[in-house]
Symmetry: D2
Subunit: 315 residues, 4 copies
């Protein structure tokens, strides 16, 4: 195959015929390179800056930011198939050392760095490993689903905070049509009518995984029970609204390692931040104003669920 | 003054003439209420739900989400003045217990909760405390300034990540006019020409505070030195680009409790997240493509600084 | 009063008569110095190293590691009294800026540093501020109480892990006398008989504060209910044992900002760490061994609560 | 082989002849069971509590806390060998899903739980997977090496804090024999004479890995340079002492993802905690006392390095 290789420091790369890489370890994957980034590190390698940092013998192929199509798959690699489009994480890691175990792959004790310590992607093919691949065709939903139950005075603010503070996929749930319309305006990616089995709806669009986080701004028996059943393994139910009781079977709590957290007001610094976000226009508080002697009317409206946004008394 | 007070559970509030609150403790502040939120908690209080949680004697004034104008200031309160617009954090805290010390004001050992355990804001005036106030007229810059040095292949991505992952005020610094224009397109709130004393510029718009975070994607002697000098107390310099040397005087490091952190590639899961953000349209990678035999040309362009975005070789 | 002051850089301090400090701000406290640490920073100050870092006019009194007895208390200071023994945190902070609010007092925007930027403790008296004092006579229980419910196969290991991984005050609760004895051997600071109102016992010795963490290794209805009622504001119930159901009133969860967390097994790296601690002798697993054909007997014993430590089948 | 299997809920296990497990996936490992814990979960399984949580067909073999000797190793498993003693992490995980990538193996999307969802360890042999094994013969040094440079007034306290707050392997380095003796008394696991190439010494006993954390309480050019060179990949140098300058090559910082952090005093709550630990007898501050008029002598001694522990002036 064609490859752009470094034969001598401080010299241009040479485009040569090189041996096509072959599978070596059981979980290896050969990728047909469709794009390889050109980076200052390539310049530094040519300049010899990396000579003392890593041991590598010239000539070799540069290119450490690679993408391509899976060409060949080792016998122990089960998560990718020939023909799939992949982006290659820059390093090959063992997945077994402590660093890999705790998510610090870059500190892997057996790190191989194609393009720096081994042949890289300025070539038609590159050898990588199953663990290094990110598949382009699989939309990741992990770490991304938040359900907000109740789009009232707090809920419509919560939606906006989630929008400007996270990249989560945000679902709002309410029993009133007008609140669902409000949720859409306030940035919810999806709204669900809580009168029609909201748990089932969440499970459907999350492919039976559930949501990482459910924020319950209603807090009655029903929403608390639903909230628990919407959670993904390791998920958290955050209780803000109250009035009801959550019945948590210990076996469910431990089996899925759920968390249930109560939240009252937030700290001073969080209020400061909220005000700052409002000033930046990222959060907009919808208010319905009344005079002091209208406070009982407003409380009635709140009870009936006909108040939109936050009721505010102006004394 | 007029106040809407609870005289009996399960009854409407009564609008009555109540005594105007007076300063009690040295750091107390009396606030003229200009708005008080109406919340489900008010309903719950009326229903008697809170009776068993807190000790309070009827009648008292509800209203725990308050904003207003400072009317009177206690002798020990130095940070607010009569006439200033303020939002009241819902609780009054002592600032001295361990909870307050570590930022968990809500767990203050001497918590007072106006509107729940004391007279609240459904009234013309309310007593609060200096510590509880957030002033509306002081734009907070704390926790919000990030400077990105170098708007190249990585820098233009970094800017977009900062935009969608933080609410920071983002400044981009570069020596090329075209890179500054690119930075603006990619979401920088401010660009600074690094040829004209960038440290001074940062210090000016941060009012001599400096930036919480500087990300150095260039990494030469000059940018490293500048990066350190741009930092705020407790700030962090994140080194991504390299080639130069940072000379850190230990006294500077300890006096301001700076952090200097090297970053190589990022973990697999961070790459996955970046791809996901690209798919969501929140990050756009600007590329300049070439064939494998053009790689040396691209490396030359990169060296000269004439490549815009990321160069990509298509083998 | 006598004070050791710096009159000129690179010269010895001079012991002179200096004006006794007086209260200036409402929360100031004058402390009679009973001990002042001598530190390399004092040498550096004398050498002039700090000249360019801070603005201070000679002469002034050095000494920034101070302890003493409260002599005089400003009108706004409520938490200390004349005659109390105190250690002075080295800096005077405002308690109002964002840094102080989030627990980063060292980055206070209005920091005063006695002994460096103001008169210090190489003197008979020093001016400090209420916020800077730590009282010696108040045993802090904050952040330190953990209750372990159930001293069986996991419980006796949990106690040892708490001993070697935290400085918490560890209480073990069980219904069997033999298990309480085992708990004492395994490092519990206190044991309580769970048959005699364990909640009341915990509340008594924590002075009605409750425990920061309760680990429930039993997980029946009773222990779950007790666990919740033992928690301090902001506390966490960690469920490991199961079989029962926890009924959480939402109002209790939000009022005290409790957390309830399920834990199943722990990660690979945690197992590795446990093995390492066992190797170091910090954790000792008590086992009762049997043959494969004795497994049903062992299960019976476990059910009856007569198995001590962990039963292990040797196939 | 012999196995204790569950044939019917609420019935005792039956000891039967079962088929010996065989390798199925490339990274599978067959382990000869030498010990299997008997746990309340086994009782719960027999009671049928788990029926609704997981799908499993009777009969099957219980036992989910297993240890043994490697019997047979799959072709893709490279990190274990026949004959090695291992403890089995309870679950088999894929190492490829997001949960595994970030260290949350328990939330693996393809979790297999021998003894609960598959045949367990109440048998002579069990099938596990390379990823699940912890080898008993490999002392893990990961996450455990801290080097303290300088055993003076702060250093001798730092050593004790490390002892009671971590399980790290603590090395103290100093140029004075008396300080090394003090370090040993204060809990250092190892002392090294800093006059004899301390970097080489650290590299030797860490098998060329380096230390996770170096705390530099001296802060001169030499200790700062040494500290950097002692660090492991991902390691942190914490600067407390000062006077010198650290020259950090950016390439070193990024290649190993080092952190360099300055620390000045610590927060109020940390001081409170230190005092509490002193009260508990876990930290003992060695002091050398003098009168106010002896302060210059003490400063001289400090300069010469002849002061042991902390010098304290008693005014």
């Amino acid at each position: 195959m064609k490859a752009a290789r470094l034969f001598a420091y401080d010299k241009p790369l040479r485009l040569v015929d090189a041996e096509t890489p072959r599978l070596k370890n059981p979980a290896d994957v050969i990728v047909r390179v469709t794009g390889a980034g050109v980076c200052h590190t390539d310049l530094h390698i040519v300049e010899g800056v990396w000579k003392e940092k890593v041991q590598v013998t010239l000539p070799y192929t540069l290119g450490h930011e690679n993408a391509g199509i899976v060409e060949e798959v080792g016998p122990a690699a089960t998560s990718v198939k020939r023909g799939e489009k992949v982006i290659l994480h820059p390093v090959i890691t063992d997945g077994l050392c402590r660093a890999c175990r705790i998510g610090e792959d870059m500190h892997c004790e057996n790190l191989v760095f194609p393009g720096i310590t081994a042949d890289g992607g300025f070539a038609q093919f590159i050898r990588s490993s199953e663990r290094s691949l990110v598949k382009l065709n699989s939309r990741t939903t992990s770490g991304s689903n938040v359900v907000v139950q109740g789009v009232g005075g707090l809920g419509h603010i919560a939606l906006q905070l989630l929008r400007c503070m996270t990249n989560a996929y945000i679902t709002a749930s309410d029993i009133a049509e007008s609140k669902l319309r409000l949720a859409e305006k306030m940035g919810a990616h999806r709204v669900i009518d809580a009168r029609r089995d909201p748990v089932k709806q969440v499970m459907e669009f999350t492919k039976n995984q559930g949501a990482e986080v459910v924020i319950d701004l209603v807090g009655n028996d029903q929403t608390l029970a639903n909230g628990m059943r919407m959670l993904r393994k390791g998920g958290s139910l955050i209780i803000v609204g109250y009035g009801g009781t959550a019945n948590l079977k210990a076996i469910d709590m431990i089996f899925s390692e759920f968390s249930v957290l109560g939240s009252l007001v937030g700290n001073w610094d969080e209020l400061r931040e909220l005000i700052e976000l409002t000033r930046q226009g990222k959060v907009r508080v919808l208010t319905q104003k009344g005079k002091l002697d209208e406070v009982n009317d407003m409380l009635d409206q709140l009870k009936k669920g006909t108040l939109e946004g936050r009721g505010v008394v102006i004394p």
